[in-house]
Every structure is written in C-alpha cells, then in structure tokens.
C-alpha cells in the first residue's frame, strides 16, 4: 500500500509541477531525475519540455505545437509528397533524365537520396525486434501517401523500385541477356501492411528520411534508428489522443533536438575531436580509473577496448543494452540531467563497476560477452543508484 501511495504522491507532484503557468525547469528536472511516472501522459510532456520542444510558459504550448506541426507538414510535402507526385506524373523530360551527369539534375539527387533511403529502410524494418509495436499499423497513417487511389510514389514504392531497378541493372552489367522477371525482395521478411495502412516502422522511416534530407552533413547513420525508436514509441503511445495523433511531427522535433546534442557521436570525422565518441569513451574510462582503479587496470590488461562496448553504449544512449521499458526509464534520468549527457558517463562507469567481481576474475572472452550482453540480473535501479553515488562523489 505504501508503494501505491508513494506513486500517487509522485504523480501529484508531477501534475503540480506541470500545472503551473510557468514551469520551474529545475524543479521538473529534479522530479524527473528519479524517473517519470507512467500515468496521464506525463512522460511525453516532460520529455518534450526537457528536450526543449515545449516552452516553459504553458499558455504558449498550443501555439508552439501548432507551429511545429505545420512546419513538419511542410517538410513532408516538400520532401516526400510533392516529389512523389512529380514522379508518378512525370512526362519524359527533355532537359533532365536519369543519366544526366549534371550535379544539379533532379535525378542525380533522387538517386543519392535513394542510397540513404535504402539504408534507413534496412534498419527500421528490424527496429526493436523484441516487441511487435513497430510492425503494427499506426492509427494515424499519412493519408495522401497510403490512400489506395493515390498513384503517388511513397517511400514504400520508392524502396521497391530502387531495389528492382538496381537488380535489373546489375544483371545487365554482368552481361546476362535474359532478364528473368524480377521478384520483389525488399519486403521479403517483413510484410508491409495492406494499402491504406502504415506500420509504425514506416512512420519512423519517413521521419529519418526527412531528417537526413534536412541534415545532409550527417544524413543517416546506423544507430540513429535506435535513438528515434524509444522516442517515437513513447510519443505514439501517449494516452492523450490529441497529442498521440501528432506523434510523428512531435517525434521529429524531439529527435532533431536530441540529435543536436549527440550528433557528433555519429560523425566519423569527429571521432577524435573533443565532442566525438572517443572523448566520451575516454571520459568513462577516466572516471572508472578514478573510482575503481583495479577494474580499470583489469580491463586495460585484458585489452578490452572501449570500442568493443562503450562505443555502442554511448552512441545509442544505452538503447540496445536494456529492454525498452528500462531504456525509457533510464532516458527519463538522462534527459533530466542539466549537464546533458554527463550523467550518462557515470551510468556507464557504474555499469562496469557493478560487474567488478566477474571482471576481476574472469578472462577476456567471458568479460567481452558480459559487457556486450549486459546481465539481466542487475536491475536498472541499482545501476542508477550507483551512478548517482559516483556522480555526486565526483562533484563534491
């Protein structure tokens, strides 16, 4: 009973914090730093606030959301709907054609975009394979794209066509004269849903494609799917139906803001820079060396390099290490960090230290497997407590 009362009380605290005309962000961060309550769609509001997708002034929320959602709709029109219409209505162009070598050729950028789209497609189809959610149909498909009467080239058709055309081309290049009728392979393992329906992974694909178009410097890198997955899942499961309906647009902005902070981890040319992945991995190791030199030394002498495990932990904000509910819980706390993502460094160190007995006694192989498949028996709350202990000791 005490537990129930406690969570009721926590919910009240959240509702109070979110109910004030101007949100006290410090107070909210503090509340979120112990995990956000599961009820009343509180998490999606908190995440939006923490990721700077909502202003502190409550009265400005409707306007801010409206503006973002319109903006997203424009991106959608500009980057997917209009080009899709153009492609299905296209008369054979006199000036532009697929083999036009001119870099400004629309075909040229179309093919470049296809490279990115196909990579995204491979990854979103296998997003969070442990749960059915992403394979299920969304209640809010993008109508112009999925309407059975529409001839528009949506991303689904575009992926299929790109695969087919490159198949044909490959065969020609190999000098095979009889083109066997092509069999669609793109969706061999994961069925796309019937016309008129759209799976959640297709929505995620669209957001990532638009993000890649708007951020050509980073475009799409494997692992971004694992960052957007928990965001979209949370927003698309919002009990507040009005907000749930706009999960796609809102996820886009949450993702964009989040990527603004962690993007450098995905950029190879920045690996060795102060903001790149190597610097972050070194920070974990430095902290580990400080807190538990014995474990640090052991990993070092076994030549278990941070690239073998920390690379993934940090790049994906731990999203592949735990089950989705645990990831979401950890993200509550990571997002509430006022010095984002310093606390992640402490969490990673804590994760290693909690395995110290095994690390100190077992060999390379065992420890590699241990670090790459974080044991279920260690509860995330134990990890968080340990990380907080480390973090606070460090700052005092």
């Amino acid at each position: 009973m005490a537990g129930i009362n406690l969570s009721d009380r926590k919910e009240t605290l959240f509702l109070e914090a979110l109910g004030s005309p101007v949100i006290d962000m410090n107070n909210l961060r503090k509340l979120c730093s112990t995990g956000i309550v599961e009820t009343c769609g509180i998490r999606t509001i908190c995440w939006r606030l923490l990721l700077n997708c909502l202003p502190k002034q409550r009265t400005k929320w409707p306007e801010a959301l409206e503006k973002q959602r319109c903006e997203y709709q424009q991106f959608l029109n500009e980057m997917i709907i209009e080009p899709g219409l153009k492609r299905c209505n296209a008369a054979p162009g006199l000036d532009d054609h697929p083999l036009n070598p001119n870099p400004t050729s629309e075909w040229n950028s179309y093919f470049k975009d296809n490279d990115i789209l196909l990579q995204i497609d491979k990854d979103v189809r296998r997003l969070c394979p442990d749960i059915a959610f992403f394979q299920n149909a969304t209640a809010y498909p993008c109508e112009p794209l999925v309407s059975p009467t529409s001839r528009l080239e949506n991303l689904r058709k575009r992926v299929e066509r790109s695969v087919l055309s490159s198949q044909n081309l490959t065969r020609k290049r190999l000098g095979i004269s009889n083109l066997i009728s092509s069999r669609k392979q793109a969706s061999r393992e994961y069925d796309t849903l019937e016309e008129g329906q759209e799976a959640h992974w297709e929505v995620v694909e669209r957001i990532l494609f638009i993000y890649a178009k708007l951020n050509p410097g980073t475009a799409y890198v494997q692992g971004m799917n694992e960052i957007i997955g928990p965001l979209y899942y949370t927003l698309a499961s919002d009990p507040n139906l009005e907000w749930k309906e706009h999960a796609e647009a809102d996820t886009f902005f949450c993702f964009t803001n989040l990527m603004g902070e962690i993007r450098d981890n995905f950029i190879k040319s920045l690996d060795k820079s102060g903001s790149g992945i190597e610097a972050s991995m070194n920070r974990v190791l430095c902290l580990l060396r400080q807190v538990d030199p014995e474990v640090w030394l052991r990993l070092d002498s076994l030549a278990i390099k941070p690239q073998f495990y920390l690379f993934r932990w940090i790049t994906l904000l731990l999203s592949q290490e735990f089950s989705l509910p645990d990831v979401i819980h950890i993200w509550d706390i990571l997002f509430s960090d006022s010095r984002r993502f310093d606390f992640l460094i402490a969490v990673c160190s804590a994760m290693i230290i909690l395995l110290r007995d095994e690390i100190l006694t077992r060999d390379f192989s065992h420890n590699m497997k241990l670090l790459q498949n974080y044991p279920l028996r260690i509860d995330v709350n134990t990890i968080i407590s340990k990380a907080k202990e480390i973090y606070h000791n460090l700052r005092n």
Binding site: K122, D123, R126, E226, F364
Partner: protein, 210 residues
Amino acid sequence: MSLKSKKEPQPQPQRRVFKVIVIGDSDVGKTCLTYRFCSGQFQDKTEATIGVDFRERMVDVDGELIKLQLWDTAGQERFRKSMVPHYYRNYSSFQNLPAWIEECNKYCSSSGGIPRILVGNKSDLKEKSEVDTNTAQRYADSHCMPLFEASAKEDKDFANIEAIFLTLAHKLKCHKPMMSGDYPSMKRATVLSIDKELVRKNSDSYCANC
C-alpha cells in the same frame, strides 16, 4: 575496428585462439550467420549491429581443440572508410566486394597470405540461377577464396555453416602467424560479407586472414 586488436594470452597456454572477422554490407546476415554457428540457433530478427559483436565457439581441428573467436562487425560506412557514392551500387553487396577486399588489405598488411572465404548467405531465398553462382564462383576464384553458399535460417543447412568455419579453422591452423607481434597462440581471420541479393541470391562473404 577490431582488425588490429591484440588478444590476451590465454590462461591455458596450450589452447589456441583463432580470430575470425566477419565483414560485409549491412543486412546481409553477418549476425545471423555467426550466431547460428556459435549457438546453433537462428535469430529470426536481429537489430543492426553497432560497432562490433563478439562470439566464440570451441572447435575440434584435427584433434586439437581450438577456440574460434568471431568478430561480427557493423556494415555501414560509419564504421569503415567513406566510399565514393555510387548511384547503383547501394543495394548490391556483391558489387561492393572489391571495396571490402580493399579494406581488408588495408588493415592486414600481409593479407596476401591471409586465407579468405566468400560466403553467400540467405541461400534459402535463392531462385535457382546457375549464372549467379558462377559469377560468385569466378569472383571467389579470382581472389583465391573458396565460395560457400549457406543459409543461417535453414536448420538443414547447419552442416554447411559448420563447414564454412571449420574450413576457415583448418586454413588458419596450416597458416603461419604473419605478424611478429602476435602471440604465438593467436591466429587471426577476417571474414568479408557480400549480399548477393541482387545477383539472384543473398550472400555473405568471408575472408579469413590469420
């Protein structure tokens, strides 16, 4: 990323460790193949590999128990050198093979002597097409690699998957350590992957270097 890493000396000095690195385009089935070999199971759906995954299995090679370490790598360019974008190349891991071989050579200075194996995975999806097997075979021959076609998915194909890695282990066993800095008990292997999907059949390629 793991190509140059050194391994720890094993506690049991008599037990040798062979290191195999699996490389190739994304979504060709590198993870499923190595998982199948190490656990005997087929993982129906796997997430994209980020960084590198480590797996291992003991194998008996001519009476010697050897630990095969498999390093299953990520397929995307983030984890390798950037390539000149090529319009039509995106979905054909077979056509990307030269780039993978080049990468392999880059990291293994003495790769001329390093055994490699080319594997066509997902053979359960193939439509019978001798041309493509021939094409793959010609390519493998021209790079002195044996070609295997296999399916990580089909239970009945498990022996085939065993054969891939056991062949590799044999080749490694006969091979002298190339790098003086290596621990004597340690041998290395690299695996290249391709996706022959476009060329009718899906395939992974393995290149072993020791």
